[in-house]
């Protein structure tokens, strides 16, 4: 029974991984194209000191892009899932701080602070579900249906060929 559930989780982790990858890539595109707008969104949260706002705005979307792509292709799957879960924890914390300050603002997740609906507890629930997805992939996806699996099989084949020739 447990084995069956594990196999099911293994199958389930693949679409979740691809979905999370797409979400992160979709989230980073606007931030990359409009760094100033994204910096303004970060500043609106009022958490980071001014000096750290721009470095965050410059680097974070690219980390999202790299992790999103590696998740979709299943390369270093667990590491990407860990990085994405870490980012989700950071986003949820920022949202909770903003909500506790009663800030009326957009989350700046997919577009600028001026666009989109105001943040609310549903935004936190949405991000928590994505965090749960990330943790699920981290726990269950062993990368067999992705580049990790392909590379593993390639190197195993190569090693066995070498062993035979020796």
């Amino acid at each position: 029974m447990i084995q069956k559930l594990r196999t099911l989780a293994l199958y389930l982790a693949v679409p979740i991984r691809i979905y999370l990858g797409v979400v992160f890539i979709a989230a980073c595109l606007y931030k990359i194209s409009q760094p100033h707008e994204f910096a303004l969104s970060i500043a609106t949260y009022g958490i980071l000191p001014t000096e750290l706002v721009n470095p965050m705005a410059i680097m974070l979307p690219w980390i999202e892009l790299v992790c999103g792509l590696t998740l979709i292709f299943g390369l270093w799957t667990k590491a990407s899932a860990l990085a994405i879960s870490g980012m989700m924890i950071m986003f949820i914390t920022a949202l909770l701080i903003a909500l506790s300050k009663h800030l009326h603002m957009s989350c700046g997740c997919f577009a600028s602070a001026e666009a989109g609906d105001d943040i609310n507890y549903l935004t936190v629930v949405r991000d928590s579900l994505w965090l749960a997805g990330g943790m699920f992939v981290l726990w269950f996806d062993d990368g067999r249906w992705g580049m990790d699996g392909l590379l593993r099989r390639y190197f195993q084949k190569k090693a066995s060929k070498n062993a035979i020739s020796v």
């Binding site: 100033h36 910096a39 609106t44 001014t50 974070l60 790299v66």
Partner: protein, 165 residues
């Protein structure tokens, strides 16, 4: 820590570092890139909190038994001084300032369903002040639909200042 965990953590850091390096290089190369460190704080504009409570509108002809009602005039003081509902009190609506606390407390003490706000039609000051008073805790606040012009057009009694034009 097991080697698997260390390996995953290490790879996560590598991914984050790759992202950081690409981000820095891209920002440096693009013409619309932003400064790496900004010393001046950003000018942040956060919209004012919306009033969650709305007061009830009321037509002039639906007002009955006006002797129990307290009319609050939300129009600018100059308009109030020129002409007003007799016995009304002036509390000009200011979008940037809440009504004085002591005034609100006095209005709250009047009890429910006694406050009727009358404003002008230009900025809908009656509705806005009525909503503000409701938000502040006054119960059963209403505002006159169409404001002071509707009151005048209905042929209701008004008081004019003698020094006026």
């Amino acid at each position: 820590m097991s080697s698997k965990v260390t390996k995953t953590l290490g790879r996560s850091l590598v991914l984050a570092s790759i992202g950081c390096i690409i981000g820095l290089a891209f920002n440096f190369a693009r013409p619309e890139g932003i400064k790496f460190v900004r010393s001046a704080p950003y000018n942040i504009y956060v919209p004012c909190p919306m009033m969650s409570k709305e007061a009830k509108p009321i037509e002039v002809q639906d007002l009955e038994g006006t002797e129990d009602l307290i009319f609050i005039d939300a129009r600018p003081k100059a308009d109030y001084d020129r002409e007003r509902i007799s016995g009304s009190r002036s509390l000009p609506f200011n979008p940037l300032k809440s009504p004085p606390k002591d005034t609100v407390e006095k209005l709250k003490a009047l009890g429910p369903n006694r406050i009727v706000v009358i404003g002008d039609t230009d900025i809908d000051s009656g509705r806005l002040l009525a909503a503000e008073l409701s938000e502040a805790g006054c119960l059963g606040v209403r505002y006159i639909k169409g404001g002071f012009p509707a009151w005048k057009n209905a042929g209701k009694k008004i008081e004019r200042s003698e020094a006026g034009p």
